[in-house]
Symmetry: C2
Subunit: 331 residues, 2 copies
């Protein structure tokens, strides 16, 4: 009731990343496909971890990164995701709150540990992710506070939520609650193999329940099973109010029923680690959208945030995005 | 018996670092003295952590960093230190083994959790450390394998071991075992406040039980309660076989009974975070010493390793030190 109005509430798999430098040889030796996310069980997670070099741990999760980005712009956000009350769960919760994102999901007190994602970063700045979902599988509809959902202009959901079955239920419940409150629902398709796993459900969602869609070129082509980006654009046009499609160095295309905005990239100072580029594009876009910017500006804010996050190791911004956006004259 | 000969066995407090960007205002608000290490209890550790921004977690510990450095040069090392069988303990053990350091100390299965050090990094690249010792307090003489100690050319001990009482016992036992086997014993003084806490014991150790001493200017001046570095040099001369004294941008001075070597710094590409500079100087020096280099070369290897580690965030090398040393013609 007394919940303050929020820009965005994000719901996602709450994951701590373990970043490790790697190389192509390691990927092929361990049958890993570069640039994708693979779900692994605990035994495989441990075997892969044992085989890698020393790492750096930091809070991650696709939607978690997006919410951190929105907060870095000065936006008001909340996050819903499941950790356990263990050391990595404490780290995840601390980092979320430290950056100013409301995070009150009750942690598990027993059962699987906080989710981990082993991210192998190759010298070409690509990342190959291996996720042990751990506590995320216990996220369910009971974790959703309807007042929180209703208070946010946009409810933002990551496609990866379809992997843990009860999280999928929470996903559908959240979308309904948001729409019943007259709010918008946004989805990020997460990765082409995630789209493969849930293509029919995602197509139905996009056509009937999503207002703002985020996808990169591989994901949107996989969704509509086409090889050509422009064909995918034609497919998605009108299916959702806004589709924001990212194309790496080719920039992004924002598609509405009757218009297209082609947005160039913000050239990054350097490219160190592409982890989080899509997550941060969504952050900039949603911050803009919920703060009254036109669609072209939303795209530029997305590009700016993506450029910041790929210029360093890790998937969350190091430089306050609000400062960068002000310097660029975007806010 | 069948233990292979080792260059160095290091004994230290096994700690996972939490690195957080900070500023002078935060330090003074929380009564923290810049550049020092303060021991904190769990409640204070948590209160400080709650007050800080989002962080990055990586394995640390003064001696752990040194051993990682020795391995990065291609040296053969082992580490003794106490973690718990929790998530951060797993991270610490993984990182040690991943870099090629033998690490077999049995983890605690109950009791205090793996030690954490909250490191506040200010824009001047200084670090202010707050250590919750956790499982380290349980390290005791029973954790020392006499065959391991006897197998190493040098047993390297961090001064911080004097903080947990049983670790101090282990320290003394290790020094005796090493000397009984005809091996060398090395000590790093750790920080000026650590020297304050144990000045008499450290003076006695240096005069009677240590062959190779590492200290920075503040530490060696604190040990002999003098204000002038050259006075400290006179005090330490002859008390130990080798004293390697570091002076930040002034380089280092290696003092033996009858000679002094003044070694300039290796100019770093940039200075981001001074965490680990002293630890890595010791790594280069000990790697050189146990691999037949003369003292001036040992000092240069120390400078090279220190320069690498201050050029990035975190206290362990990111670029293989062996490559850097080969490129510099030092090995």
């Amino acid at each position: 009731m007394a919940t303050q109005t929020l820009d965005v509430v994000g719901i996602g798999n709450a994951i701590v990343d373990i970043l490790v430098p790697s190389d192509d040889q390691f990927l092929s030796k361990h049958d890993l496909r570069k640039g994708t996310m693979t779900l692994v069980n605990e035994a495989r997670a441990e075997a892969l971890y044992r085989a890698t070099g020393s790492g750096v741990e930091m809070s991650g999760g696709s939607c978690g990164n997006t919410m951190a980005g929105i907060a870095s712009f000065g936006g008001k956000g909340a996050y819903v995701g499941k950790v356990r009350n263990d050391q990595l769960g404490d780290v995840f919760a601390h980092d979320m709150r430290a950056i100013g994102v409301k995070f009150d999901t009750a942690p598990l007190t027993k059962g699987p540990s906080t989710a981990r994602c082993l991210i192998l970063v190759t010298p070409d700045a690509q990342r190959t992710m291996n996720t042990y979902l751990g506590a995320c599988v216990e996220l369910g509809p009971e974790d959703l506070d309807p007042n929180l959902i209703a208070a946010a202009q946009v409810t933002y959901l990551e496609g990866y939520l379809f992997d843990p079955p009860r999280a999928k239920e929470a996903f559908r419940r959240a979308a309904k609650t948001a729409h019943d409150a007259g709010r918008k629902v946004s989805l990020s398709l997460s990765d082409p193999f995630c789209v493969d796993r849930y293509r029919d459900e995602f197509r139905d969602l996009v056509a009937n329940h999503i207002d703002i869609l985020f996808a990169n070129e591989a994901e949107i082509c996989s969704l509509y099973q086409v090889n050509d980006f422009e064909q995918a654009v034609n497919h998605v046009r009108g299916k959702t109010e806004i589709a924001a499609l990212t194309r790496s160095e080719l920039g992004s295309v924002i598609v509405t029923r009757d218009r297209e905005h082609r947005i160039p990239i913000s050239p990054p100072e350097r490219v160190i680690d592409s982890t989080g580029a899509g997550d941060l594009y969504a952050a900039g876009f949603l911050y803009g959208l919920t703060n009254g910017k036109d669609l072209a500006s939303c795209g530029k804010l997305g590009s700016l945030a993506a450029a910041e996050v790929i210029s360093h190791y890790g998937a969350r911004p190091e430089t306050p995005l609000r400062d960068l956006a002000q310097r660029a004259g975007l806010i």
